[in-house]
């Protein structure tokens, strides 16, 4: 207490003699004093001098102590300025009215110097306590505001990184309800350069800052690898490895990733630790995809399993992913959102268009009732749409490179097992993306590359017949056969070469793929687009539409595609 500045005490009494006595008593205790002789003066001095304690006579001319006390108490707001009434009245009613007027205590005349000193000291302790609490409260408020401000900025940065994908696409509906400023859930979606889309849903242990920090590298790896044309296995592998490195033991991320292929009407899925991913078929069935793996970030790269499940998904069918928030709601709300409850709900529902809005309404309802903030609830619906709808909408890609590789060639050759193990498309795309403004046509280039390379491998090197794919079972047979033959490759190679030539308004990209296989009869190829009912054989006819020319040479094991592109109007504006 020695460090607190000398307290100032306001003494108010109309009796000059009493004033002098009290003033002397208080001063002798070492306090600073100011003196007023009526209520009005007291208020005036209170404002001017800001005393710490007020000793106030009850009955005074002009304005009495009761009224002055009320006024002063209304002026002090948050501060604590004790008012001690000095009074010769000693009936209960008068003493009560002292306290009712805002007084904190009273002293009866005649004064005892010991009692005055003790009371002032008692109130001094209370003032000190009050000020300490107030200072701590202000500090907490200040820090909290600072923290919220920081979180706001961090969230902004996070949103810029995490939500630059295509969550707004017409075939995605999603629901993200953050528990605090940050959400323990991560939802990412991005279009593949080859068409189709990849969706990722992750749920971190815990919430807030740690989860958001963990989400940042996930988002970066995801968007980077999808843009370069890598498959889900590689993406999930890299994310796991990153999280395994950066997360402390005990922290991990339950996740699902889905590769949606519009052209083949198929999905490829990996689920580690999330609830069943549900696929609502057009015939009303609901297929669950169980979590077959440990969550991300737990296992080292050697032990991590990237094995995915594949399944047909026809146009109009919907796939649902959700975080454990929906399960948590069960405890509070009964049956509505339990896992089986939702699967049952999907099964019974005959109007799939309404499923999402139903969940959305339920979620809003529970949010209003304040029961959903136990955990985050993230819910996504992805609809399979036909490739024609997607490719008819040109995506504008920002491109600020004014210089870059315009006139170049490269060649790349793979042998034996590498043909099976390595996907060369991301590497090729990476180089073609160095051509300024060709990036906008990334989708086309990727398509041509993957068709030519797949044909070279499947038909050239492995001798697979695509008519095998003409039935649903045949599809599976085809892939089994493909995997089997791939692992037995020997003495074979695949040579890919690219040449880009610039011209004034665009450029020409020549892609040559040469395989060491037996070749095939290229005169027999039907270059027309097959009928919708036909499952396979879309590849080459599609390429003839995209390219200026497609030529087969030799015995059919050399394919050359010439792709001519023109700068678009939109492109020049960017």
């Amino acid at each position: 207490m020695s460090e607190t500045p000398q307290l100032k005490i306001l003494i108010t009494d109309d009796n000059i003699a009493d004033c002098l006595i009290i003033n002397k008593l208080v001063k002798d205790q070492g306090y600073q004093t100011v003196v007023a002789h009526n209520g009005l003066e007291a208020i005036d001095l209170f404002l001017k001098e800001q005393p710490d304690i007020i000793l106030m006579d009850a009955l005074m001319p002009k304005m009495d102590g009761f009224e002055a006390a009320k006024k002063i108490k209304s002026l002090v707001k948050d501060d604590f300025v004790p008012i001690i009434f000095l009074t010769s009245l000693n009936d209960d009613v008068s003493l009560v009215s002292c306290l009712e007027a805002g007084g904190d205590d009273f002293l009866s005349k005649p004064y005892s110097s010991i009692v005055i000193a003790a009371k002032i000291q008692a109130f001094t302790r209370m003032i000190t306590l009050h000020r300490t609490v107030q200072a701590q409260r202000d500090e907490i408020t200040r820090r909290n505001e600072y923290l919220l401000q920081e979180q706001k900025i961090a969230k902004n940065i996070f949103d810029n990184v995490a939500h630059l994908g295509c969550l707004g696409a017409e075939n995605i509906k999603h629901l993200l309800s953050p528990m605090s400023v940050f959400n323990g859930d991560v939802l990412l979606a991005s279009r593949k350069p080859s068409g189709g889309m990849i969706v990722f849903l992750g749920d971190f242990t815990g919430h807030g800052l740690p989860a958001a920090i963990g989400a940042m590298p996930i988002a970066e790896i995801f968007y980077d690898l999808v843009a370069k044309g890598f498959g889900v296995e590689k993406i999930i592998h890299d994310i796991n490895q990153k999280l395994n490195t950066i997360l402390p033991v005990g922290f991990f991320c339950c996740a699902s990733i889905i590769d949606i292929n519009y052209a083949w009407e198929r999905i490829k899925l990996w689920n580690g630790g999330l609830f069943d991913v549900l696929l609502k078929k057009n015939d009303g069935r609901v297929l669950p995809f169980k979590s077959l793996h440990l969550p991300l970030g737990i296992l080292s790269a050697e032990d991590f399993n990237t094995e995915c499940v594949e399944c047909d998904m026809k146009v109009g069918e919907r796939v649902y992913l959700f975080s454990d928030g929906i399960e948590v709601l069960k405890d509070q709300e009964g049956k509505a959102f339990s896992l089986n409850g939702f699967a049952d709900f999907l099964l019974k529902n005959e109007n799939p268009d309404e499923i999402f809005s139903h969940i959305d309404d339920q979620e809003k309802l529970s949010f209003e009732r304040n029961i959903s903030n136990i955990d985050d609830v993230t819910f996504v619906e992805v609809l399979m749409i036909s490739e024609e709808i997607v490719s008819s909408k040109h995506e504008i890609v920002r491109n600020s490179d004014l210089h870059g590789a315009r006139d170049w060639s490269m060649s790349f050759e793979m042998f034996n097992q590498t043909i099976c193990d390595f996907n060369p498309i991301p590497l090729m795309l990476h180089i073609t993306m160095e051509v300024p403004e060709l990036r906008v046509f990334n989708h086309d280039v990727c398509m041509i590359l993957s068709e030519l390379i797949t044909n070279g491998i499947d038909h050239g090197l492995l001798g697979l017949d695509s008519s095998l794919k003409n039935s649903a079972n045949g599809f599976q047979h085809y892939y089994d056969l493909r995997n089997e033959r791939l692992t037995n490759l020997s003495g074979e190679s695949l040579h890919i070469s690219l040449r880009h030539l610039p011209h004034a308004t665009g450029g020409v990209l020549v892609i040559r793929v040469v395989d060491t296989g037996a070749g095939f009869d290229y005169d027999a190829i039907d270059f027309d687009i097959p009928k919708a009912s036909q499952i396979s054989g879309r590849g080459i006819p599609l390429l003839t539409k995209l390219c200026e020319s497609i030529i087969y040479e030799g015995n059919g094991n050399t394919a050359e595609a010439v792709y001519r592109w023109e700068k678009t109007q939109d492109n020049n504006l960017l």
Binding site: D203, T205, F252, S291, L294, I298, D324
Partner: protein, 103 residues
Amino acid sequence: MSIVSHLSESGVTMKIAIQGRFDFGSHQDFRESYDKNDSSVKEYYVDMAKTTYLDSSALGMLLLLRDHAGGDAVIKIINCNQDVFKIFEISNFDQMFEISAAK
């Protein structure tokens, strides 16, 4: 929620019983239940007979125990009720721990 641990006389086997909800709030207690012992424990039994609920932070805590126990020790999670067992199943923690349901 309460967590009680019991070390066998030989000091080789430790039993940790978890009662009620096993979630982030149990972090400190769970850690203390095994932390006070030296590393001579070779077998841990986590008894979930009276565990009513398990969340993802609890899964994280089990990973911490695994880390603490080291590669040589065995961790067995026993007497899981149906709900708790389902959570282990979904997270595929049976790939890392020996997990058994209540009889």
